[in-house]
Amino acid sequence: MAMVQITDARKSYEGGFEALRGVNLSIEQGEILALLGPNGAGKTTLISAICGITQPTSGLIQVGGHDVVRDYRKARALVGLVPQEINLEPFAKVRSTVEFSRGLFGLKRDDALIERILRQLSLWDKRDNSVRELSGGMKRRVLIAKALAHEPRVLFLDEPTAGVDVELRRDMWDVVAEMKRDGVTIILTTHYIEEAEAIADRVGVINKGQILLVEEKASLMQRMGQKTLRIELTDPIDAIPSSLNEYALIRAEDGGLIYTYDTRAERTGIGRLMADLSEAGLHVRDVSTAQNSLEDIFVGLVAQQEDAA
């Protein structure tokens, strides 16, 4: 059974704005799901509805088989949340605020666990500092520490690496990877496609309150991915011979050619292209291919929805 099961979730805010328009999503235990979507897509609203911060207007949301509205105690006990905004009490001490988070879940104090979490997030040296004395990246780590303090089985990270430098981002990815090893299910939202590419098992794309797609990262990139073939010629050309028009080739700066093809297509047309090239008297010196990034896929999907609307 899925760890998080969302069935036709809708959310209308006061004033009638519909931020979630029938979301269906199923997240398996132990996987990392990256939710990609532009600003205002409904990522935070979706997470808020799962975690109990906002009431879904309709639909069913279950965590670990427990309805998050009716069975909120059991559902929320499983969930840790790292919010998008840095919401911290400025005068609280690092360690005490993390201990408080554990206490709120009704759990017994566990100094060893808190120490391990703080060390893992490189906050141990700052344990007796107050929050306002920390840098922005450290504050974000405090938020993560608070979310981990009750040993959640499902962790939501709402743009955990926004405004965080590269090194820290890698640290966070390490933490996420370690949690995954412990079997924790992780859902993160991000604007950084590289982040999804780097750590997610599956990628979901959300826009205007609807999930456009959820797919294995690898198969997604393969299925949707377009590849480009760069062809280096022995004798660079100034113009593309008209006999090659059907291939929609682009002349590269070095006088070579660029061919774009769809890996989904039954035939990529590469063999025929090669034959037609020699027919046209062009000699191929070297070829290389490049896969399109998730970013291109993502932009393409959102544009499609926009066109459909």
Partner: protein
């Protein structure tokens, strides 16, 4: 009931109080002393006794009520407003606790602080006047009920308030006048008949009267009316809290 979680909220709230314990302790001592000097000396030299009680002693219950009520409201409202303001309320909302448990934690802490201050004032009063408390248990019960119900009222204000101005508004415009006009420093029997009738519309009159009865065995209104007033006030506050819980008003958008 998730009692460990309630305990966490309670002690988290109390921690802030203990951090500034000296301040929490000194300010009521100083302000009470000032009241005794100003009211006790200046007015007390003109009124020696009210219904057989020295004026200095007569104002003690009113002084305590004044502080317990204002402290309960300000602690109760600030306690829940602060997480709303800093955004840390997300933690309370996503924890496996319900709204009543949140209320018990915050209101319990706010009432505790108010009672602490009430007791400090009572202690300080002994330095200035001769006091014997006729019904100590009733006195404590009244103080606890007042602290709890006004902490609840403060909690509601804290949920309602969208900014610091609103947070101050209700205490400033409504509560403080009601307390000052509630017979803290005089017996309403000292008022002209018309104003006596008006005063009976002020709920605080019933609280202070009942509290004064616990001290001196005398009251402006029957003790049953005082008990009824505080019970009714608490019931109204609980009703509003229950409604907030049902609707998620101003918390769960």
């Amino acid at each position: 009931m998730n009692w460990p979680a309630i305990g966490s909220i309670y002690s988290h709230e109390m921690m802030r109080f203990f951090r500034t314990l000296m301040q929490s302790f000194l300010s009521p001592v100083i302000s009470t002393s000032l009241y005794f000097v100003v009211f006790g000396a200046a007015i007390g030299s003109r009124i020696d006794e009210v219904e057989g009680v020295s004026y200095g002693a007569f104002i003690v219950p009113g002084l305590i009520m004044l502080s317990v009520i204002t402290q309960a409201i300000s602690n109760g409202s600030f306690g829940i407003f602060f997480p709303k303001f800093t955004g840390t309320i997300y933690e309370l909302l996503s924890a496996p606790i319900n709204f009543f448990e949140i209320v018990i934690g915050f209101v319990g802490a706010a009432a505790t602080k108010a009672l602490f201050i009430g007791i400090v004032i009572l202690g300080t009063s002994f330095l200035f006047v001769d006091l014997t408390i006729q019904h100590p248990a009733a006195m404590m019960a009244f103080m606890v009920m007042t602290g709890v119900s006004f902490a609840l009222f403060g909690f509601i204000i804290g949920i309602w308030a969208k900014n610091f101005e609103q947070l101050q508004l209700v205490p400033l415009l409504i509560v403080t006048p009601l307390i000052f006009l509630g017979g803290s420093f005089y017996s309403i029997s000292m008022l002209p008949p018309f104003w006596q009738t008006i005063a009976l519309l002020n709920p605080v009159v019933y609280l202070i009267s009942g509290f004064r009865w616990a001290f001196f065995g005398m009251a402006d209104v029957p003790i049953a009316a005082s008990l009824l007033a505080i019970a009714a006030f608490m019931a109204i506050c609980l009703g509003v809290v229950w409604w907030i819980f049902r609707t998620g008003w101003r918390i769960r958008s």
